[in-house]
Symmetry: C2
Subunit: 340 residues, 2 copies
DNA sequence: ATTGGCAGTCGGAGCACTTGAGTGCCAGAG
DNA sequence: CTCTGGCACTCAAGTGCTCCGACTGCCAAT
């Protein structure tokens, strides 16, 4: 059974190992931390921790390092959320303070977070799932080519081109535009998908082929844009922690580029009572990220959209600092986007 | 003076070294290539090449590896553009064959190119510099918030939000919209920037404050979007060639993320008579990329927009294959975007 | 111009040895 | 029951050494 002190020992093992990347032994513990007991006692505690698979020895006779399970206990029970330094708070203020539109806010956020944590930062775009159609624009690009622009009330813009069979008629285009906006404006994406079904029939038969093309494209846009998107920054930080990944950071870089993987991972993560979600090491093995940890928090934007911000890095990361940074940024973002 | 055969020797040194990452010696050359002369003769040629700083010896007595200058000579004089395999040609066809809009074409292109070359692939977005304004849309997001959307004839969409002081008046908004489109539609970005100056004065004084806000934002959009944008894929490939970078790939990853750096690099590159531009190793030192080579080719899209596609990788890369891939993809892209 | 031969160089592998950090265990004290 | 000091043991990593092999550079002969 893990005693109180043995958990303290686990804490300092995690702290020291994260700081130095070197297995930590009983002697160095009593030297660097005032436990008031001898090294032998610490050794007994370490034997307990090892029995519970919270720490392990890389070589028969060397210091111990935390296991993934050990990190998990550390994060769940031992990590006092270190408050951000004032310098960090200021960085958030100045970085995110004056940003003009959503895209810029998110771009800055992800960069800021990667700098605060020295890890890869991730920001998940709000999906169009719960947003509503604000406006639809039809723009002729040439006589036979049409651009369809879909604008949502969350400020996102999706565009697509189609080729039409008959030359475009500006007046009729205006009619279609008005009708589409009238019937679809304000609808959520799910409703819009339904409403699109009936629109074609409301036109004169001779026009229906043309309208059908537009409606089909719009349907694709509505469907396709329900997918989430992801912003990323700080990939270079992975190169600095390359030793923490078994030899190569290739799989990590690959997973990062394959955004779908990360989106699924994000989707699976359940935030705890503090709004923070953590996945440590082996828990991500199914995503090919068995040696990385991911911290995520949600943020809410106008219209109740829920999306996520987080960081990804080696299992051996500074959890207290990174958790605090993720939470602070997520909160700031919620405030910024909520008060609009 | 470099003889004919000594250049052949340089060629096989580059080829073998690129293939094996091991210094190549005179003996292994005569074994693997039918030169019809002895190793001693090859050694004489190698002495010549070393004198001209085309090859160098990492250790006093070991094989030779090409210098950056050696790669340059190889690329300029010795690399026979290896034709793509039929498998590669097919990959281009099937990958790029059916794509609906510009964004998708470019996304697929950059992925394809990274797979063909096993390097980092880059595609530079057409800038708005030479494109023309097709349409301007004003969309009220709330009573005091307005979205301004700028659509160009090359199919790009730029958006921005502004806060206005007085509640929005739908009718007046329509008037402004019509006027803006009338005065700016069809103008190039440079002309538009000028035309914007005079627009405010054409409104009634009482409305001018409001219009001025819109015009200011549009001006920013026109100015800001002259900047180029960049797509990237295959960063994970850098992890596989990590040994080719002095220890760490950090600077490379950093430069890649800092897109501005790459855009400037691209801008500096001058294509040769085949439409290919090459920068090898030390030539990129000014960009912090002294150990990487960049290959680029231009492509033209509708409206004469000129932009670039290329790859970036370690100096020790397979130039013939990569140059052929870049050129083939650029040509295919020109055809695809030119015939629209 | 080319060749074979030969001495010389140097990195890297293999090996024995040492060092030191660290463990596990035990018997004794509190 | 907990803690402690002591002691034997283990093992990774560093050091110094030799040996081997792959090369080069040079030279005299063809």
């Amino acid at each position: 059974m893990a005693t109180d002190r043995s958990l303290d020992v686990l804490r300092v093992i995690v702290q020291d190992y994260v700081a130095s990347r070197e297995p930590v032994g009983s002697k160095s513990i009593v030297e660097r931390h005032a436990f008031g007991v001898s090294a032998a006692t610490i050794r007994n505690d370490m034997a307990l921790l090892e029995e519970e698979e919270l720490i392990t020895a890389p070589h028969t006779s060397s210091g111990r390092i935390p296991t993934d399970k050990g990190y998990r206990v550390f994060v769940d029970q031992l990590a006092d959320l270190r408050p951000l330094t004032t310098a960090q708070r200021q960085a958030i203020e100045t970085f995110l303070g004056h940003a003009s539109d959503l895209d810029e806010v998110l771009t800055r956020t992800v960069r800021l977070l990667s700098q605060l944590t020295h890890q890869v930062a991730l920001v998940q775009y709000p999906s169009l799932g719960r947003s509503r159609i604000r406006h639809i624009e039809l723009v002729p690009l040439s006589t036979l080519r049409l651009m369809i622009v879909l604008i949502t009330d969350t400020g996102r813009v999706e565009q697509r081109h189609i080729d039409v069979e008959a030359p475009l008629d500006e007046a009729f285009l205006g009619e279609v535009r008005a009708k589409l906006n009238g019937m679809l404006g304000g609808l959520g994406m799910a409703d819009a998908a339904v409403a699109l079904q009936g629109i074609v029939d409301s036109f004169q038969p001779v026009r229906r082929a043309f309208v059908a093309e537009i409606v089909e494209s719009l349907g694709e846009q509505v469907a396709a844009t329900r997918g989430e998107k992801l912003l990323m920054a700080g990939a270079a930080n992975l190169a600095l922690t390359a030793e923490d990944f078994g030899g190569s950071i290739y799989p990590v870089l690959e997973a990062i580029e394959e955004q779908v993987t990360l989106l699924r991972l994000f989707a699976e993560m359940e935030p705890d009572q503090h709004g923070l979600a953590t996945r440590i090491g082996i828990e991500n093995a199914a995503f090919g990220l068995g040696e990385t940890s991911v911290l995520a928090s949600g943020y809410t934007s106008t219209g109740g959209e829920f999306a996520r911000v987080g960081v990804l890095g080696p299992t051996r990361m500074d959890y207290p600092n990174n958790m605090a940074a993720v939470r602070a940024v997520a909160r700031y973002l919620s405030r910024l986007l909520g008060e609009e």
